[in-house]
C-alpha cells in the first residue's frame, strides 16, 4: 500500500554512490590520522571527522539493515501512539520533536564524565570504544529495546523481562535495576560535591538554581500557565546572572558562607534530595528540567562549533603507559576491561534501556522512526562523549593528573601536587598549577576529581578561544560547572522519585498501605530510604581516604554495563522467541562482549589479590594492619583505616551481588532461548496484535520526495515543520 514499506528496494543512484564513497574516504583518512600518528600533537578535528563519518555510514547502512531485516519495521502497522491515543501519555509526536525529547532523556552527565576519566589511558582507546561501541552496541540496544517496547504498548524493561523470560529473571532484573540506580545517584552526587567543595563561586550559583526553579515553577503554574518557552528564556537569563554573580560573591564578604566542606555539601545534597523528591513536580523538577534541557542542547552545540572554530590540538598521548600497566592514579585497571567500564554512556549504557522503554515508545508515530529516534539519539549522545574526550585531551597532561588524582596521591598544595605529578612521569610546576587555578577563578584545582572540573577547564579553554578571550575564562569555567551540576541535580531528583515508586511498588506487595502513592507517611518513608541509600554511598565516597571516585566509579561502570548485559539478553530472547534466530547475533554479539567485559571486571574487583584492584584484598590489607595497630597511608588514623575496611567490604559484596543477579537474568534468558530453538518454532510473546495504521508520515529526519508526494496525497500534512 505504501511506498514507505521497508521491502521497497531501489537501485542506488550514481550520486548516492559518489556521496557515500566520499564519506567513507574522509572517515578512513581521519581514522588513519587518529590511530597512527604518534609523537606529535594532532588536531581535535580528526576525531570529529572520524566520529561523524562513522556515524553517517552506520546510520545509513547498519541501522537500516536492523530496521528492515531484523526488526522488520512495518509502517502499515499502527503504533501504540496511534491506537491508544489519549492526548496525554499516548500521543502521536512529530519524529523530530521526539528525537529531541529522547536525546534530552538519555544524555546527561554520564557521557561527559566517563570519557574524561578514561583519558588516563590516552585518547585513542576511549575514542575507538565510543564510536565502535555506539555503532554496534549502544545504539543497537536503544533502538531494539525501543522497538520491542513499542510493540508492547510501551512496557518497561523490567516488565518485558518478567513477561518474556519469567519470574526469576524478571525479579533479578528488577532488583538489579534498583541497586544500580542507587549507585548511579551516589556517584553522580559525588561528582557535584567534588566540583563544589571549597568553591564559593560554584556553590553560590548552584544554590541559586533552587530559587530560580521555584520562581519558574510558580510563573508557569500561576502567572502564565503553559508558557514554557517564555519561562525557560527567563530562567536561562537568571541562570547566567547567577553564574556572573558567583564571581562577585567569591570576592565579597559572603565568600565564607558559601565555602563549604565536602561533608557539609553531602548533607545539603541529601536534605535537598529528600525535599525535592516529595514536593510536587511542578515546583522544582519540571522547571529545572526545562533549564537543563536547553542548557544541554545549547552548550553541546556551542562546544561542537568551538572545536571546529578554535581547532585545538590534543596534548594527551594516543595511548598512555597506564593502558598497559593498569596503575594510573585516576582509576585502577588497564585497557581491558576498564576502558569499557569507565566509558558507559556515549558508547553503551544499560540505563538507556530504561529510558528507551516506557515513555518514548508511547509517542512514536511510525514504526520506522525508531531508527531516527532510537539509533539517532544515541549517535548524538556518542558525539557528546567524543566532545568530552577532546576537552580532557587538550589539557596539559600535568594539569590533568594534578586535577584527577585522589588527594592521597597529590596532597593538597600546589607544591605537593607538582611533585606527585613528576613522580607519575609528567611535568607541571607549582606556579603554572597556581596560574591555571587562578585563571578559572578557583582557589585550587588540585585533586578536583570526578571529571566535572576537568571538563569545565577544557570547555573554558575552548569557549574563551572564540568567545571573549582569557578575561572571561573563569565565567566559562563556572558556566560549565553549572551546566553539569544542573542536570546531575535533575537526575538525582528524578532518580530518587523513580526509586521511590519502585520501592513503594515492591513493598506494597508485602504491606498494602505503603504502596499507595497518596499516603504521605509511605511517601516520606520510602523517599527517606532511597535518599539514605544513595546518601550513604555519597558520604563514604566523600570521606574515603582512598578517593571516592577512584573507589566508586568502577562500581558504577560495572553496574551500568551489567544492566546493558541484562537488557541485551532480554531483547535477544525476544528475537529468538519470535523466530529470528538467524538475526539474533545483532544483539547477541554486543551482549557477549559486554558480558566478557563486566565479568572480567567484576572478577578482578572481587578476587584480585592486588589490594589496589580487589575490594576484598584491600579489605584484608587494611584489616591486617589494624590488627597490628599500624596506619597505612593515605589513611591518617585508625578510624580512617576502619572506614576503608567497611567501604571495601560493602563495595565488594555489592559487586558480587550485582554480578550474580545479572548471571541469573542471562542464564534464565538462555534457558528460554534454548526452549525456542529445541522446539523449532516460535514461542508466544506478548506482542500486541496487528492493527492497520491510517496515518502517513516520513521515516527519516527529512521527508524524501516520494514521501512528500504521499503526504500530499494523504492530505494529512505534517505540521508546520514540513512546509
Amino acid at each position: 500500500m505504501s511506498i514507505f514499506t521497508p521491502t521497497t528496494r531501489a537501485r542506488p543512484g550514481v550520486r548516492s554512490i559518489a556521496t557515500w564513497t566520499a564519506v567513507s574516504l574522509v572517515g578512513a583518512v581521519a581514522w588513519g590520522v587518529v590511530a597512527l600518528v604518534r609523537g606529535e600533537h594532532i588536531s581535535a578535528i580528526w576525531l570529529v571527522f572520524a566520529a561523524l563519518c562513522s556515524y553517517a555510514i552506520a546510520y545509513r547502512f547498519y541501522s537500516r539493515f536492523i530496521a528492515r531485516r531484523v526488526l522488520k519495521v512495518d509502517d502499515r502497522r499502527a503504533t501504540p501512539a496511534e491506537r491508544l491515543d489519549n492526548g496525554i501519555d499516548y500521543h502521536v509526536t512529530d519524529r523530530r520533536v521526539l528525537l529531541g525529547h529522547h536525546f534530552a532523556a538519555i544524555a546527561g552527565a554520564g557521557p561527559l564524565v566517563g570519557p574524561i576519566l578514561a583519558a588516563q589511558l590516552g585518547y585513542l582507546p576511549g575514542t575507538i570504544w565510543i564510536i565502535v561501541g555506539v555503532v554496534f552496541a549502544g545504539a543497537v540496544q536503544d533502538m531494539v529495546v525501543m522497538f520491542l517496547s513499542m510493540r508492547r504498548d510501551g512496557k518497561s524493561l523490567g516488565q518485558m523481562a518478567r513477561d518474556e523470560i519469567g519470574r526469576v529473571g524478571g525479579t533479578a532484573a528488577l532488583v538489579a535495576v534498583f541497586s544500580i540506580m542507587i549507585i548511579l545517584l551516589g556517584v553522580l552526587a559525588l561528582v557535584v560535591v567534588n566540583a563544589l567543595a571549597k568553591s564559593p563561586w560554584g556553590t553560590f550559583s548552584i544554590a541559586m538554581t533552587i530559587p530560580i526553579a521555584l520562581f519558574m515553577g510558580f510563573y508557569l503554574r500561576v502567572l502564565r500557565p503553559g508558557r514554557v518557552v517564555e519561562t525557560s528564556v527567563i530562567g536561562v537569563a537568571l541562570l547566567v546572572l547567577a553564574i556572573a554573580a558567583g564571581g562577585w560573591v567569591q570576592n565579597s564578604s559572603w565568600a565564607g558562607a558559601f565555602t563549604l566542606k565536602p561533608e557539609t555539601l553531602v548533607f545539603c545534597l541529601i536534605g535537598y534530595g529528600f525535599i525535592a523528591s516529595i514536593l510536587p513536580v511542578w515546583m522544582l523538577l519540571t522547571p529545572r528540567d526545562y533549564l537543563s534541557t536547553f542548557m544541554k542542547i545549547g552548550t553541546i552545540a556551542l562546544l561542537a562549533i568551538g572545536v571546529l572554530v578554535t581547532n585545538p590540538s590534543l596534548q594527551n598521548e594516543a595511548i598512555t603507559k597506564f593502558a598497559s600497566t593498569g596503575d594510573g592514579p585516576v582509576f585502577v585497571g588497564g585497557l581491558f576491561p576498564f576502558a569499557f567500564i569507565t566509558i558507559t554512556c556515549g558508547a553503551l549504557s544499560g540505563f538507556h534501556a530504561l529510558m528507551s522503554s516506557g515513555t518514548t515508545p508511547k509517542m512514536i508515530q511510525k514504526e520506522s522512526q525508531v531508527r531516527l529516534v532510537g539509533y539517532g539519539a544515541m549517535l548524538m549522545e556518542s558525539f557528546v562523549a567524543v566532545m568530552a574526550i577532546i576537552a580532557a585531551s587538550l589539557l596539559d597532561p600535568g594539569l590533568y593528573y594534578a586535577m584527577n588524582s585522589p588527594g592521597g596521591v597529590v596532597g593538597a598544595t600546589f607544591q605537593s601536587a607538582a611533585t606527585a605529578v613528576t613522580n607519575l612521569g609528567f611535568t607541571i610546576t607549582p606556579d603554572s598549577l597556581q596560574a591555571a587555578s587562578a585563571a578559572v577563578g578557583e582557589p585550587t584545582l588540585v585533586s578536583r576529581t570526578g571529571g566535572a572540573p576537568t571538563l569545565a577547564v577544557g570547555i573554558s579553554e575552548i569557549f574563551s578561544g572564540f568567545l571573549g578571550g582569557t578575561a572571561v575564562k573563569a565565567f566559562w569555567y563556572h558556566f560549565a560547572i553549572m551546566f553539569e551540576a544542573l542536570f546531575i541535580l535533575t537526575t538525582v531528583d528524578a532518580g530518587t522519585r523513580v526509586g521511590r515508586f519502585m520501592l513503594q511498588d515492591t513493598l506494597g506487595n508485602i504491606w498494602k498501605p505503603i504502596g499507595r502513592v497518596s499516603w504521605l507517611p509511605g511517601v516520606w518513608l520510602s523517599s527517606a530510604a532511597v535518599v539514605g541509600a544513595w546518601g550513604y554511598f555519597l558520604y563514604t565516597g566523600v570521606t574515603n581516604p582512598l578517593g571516592g571516585i577512584n573507589q566508586l566509579y568502577p562500581l558504577f561502570g560495572i553496574a551500568n554495563q551489567l544492566l546493558a548485559a541484562a537488557a541485551l539478553s532480554v531483547v535477544t530472547v525476544v528475537l529468538v522467541k519470535s523466530g529470528r534466530l538467524k538475526w539474533a547475533w545483532v544483539t547477541a554479539i554486543p551482549m557477549a562482549w559486554v558480558v566478557a567485559v563486566t565479568m572480567t571486571a567484576s572478577y578482578q574487583k572481587i578476587f584480585s589479590a592486588d589490594p589496589k584492584m580487589g575490594f576484598f584484598a584491600q579489605r584484608q590489607r587494611y584489616a591486617d594492619a589494624i590488627a597490628h595497630g599500624k596506619v597505612l597511608a593515605p589513611a591518617k588514623n585508625l578510624d580512617q583505616m576502619r572506614q576503608v575496611v567497611i567501604n571495601s567490604t560493602v563495595q565488594g559484596v555489592l559487586a558480587a551481588l550485582l554480578a550474580v543477579l545479572i548471571i541469573v537474568v542471562i542464564v534464565d534468558g538462555a534457558r528460554v532461548c534454548l526452549q525456542a530453538i529445541i522446539r523449532g518454532r516460535e514461542l508466544p510473546t506478548t506482542e500486541v496484535p496487528y492493527v492497520e495504521s491510517t496515518i502517513v508520515a516520513p521515516s527519516g529526519l527529512f521527508a524524501t520526495a516520494d514521501e512528500r508526494r504521499e503526504l500530499v496525497g494523504a492530505a494529512t500534512g505534517d505540521g508546520i515543520g514540513e512546509r
Binding site: 544524555a107 548511579l184 500557565p225
Partner: protein
Amino acid sequence: MSLRHLPARLWWYLRELAGETGYEHYVVHHREHRVAGAPLTRREFERRKSGTAMRCC
C-alpha cells in the same frame, strides 16, 4: 521549504520540544475524537501528564 519559513519552523520546534503545545494538542484530540464529557482543564492536564520522566546519567 524556504528560508522565509525558517523562524516560524524554529519557533514551532521549540514550542513542541518544550511541551508548550501539549495542552492544545490534547484539546484538539478531545474534540476530534468526540470523547464524552468536558476536556480536562489545563491544570488538571498538566497534573495528569507530569509523571516523572527519568533522566539518565
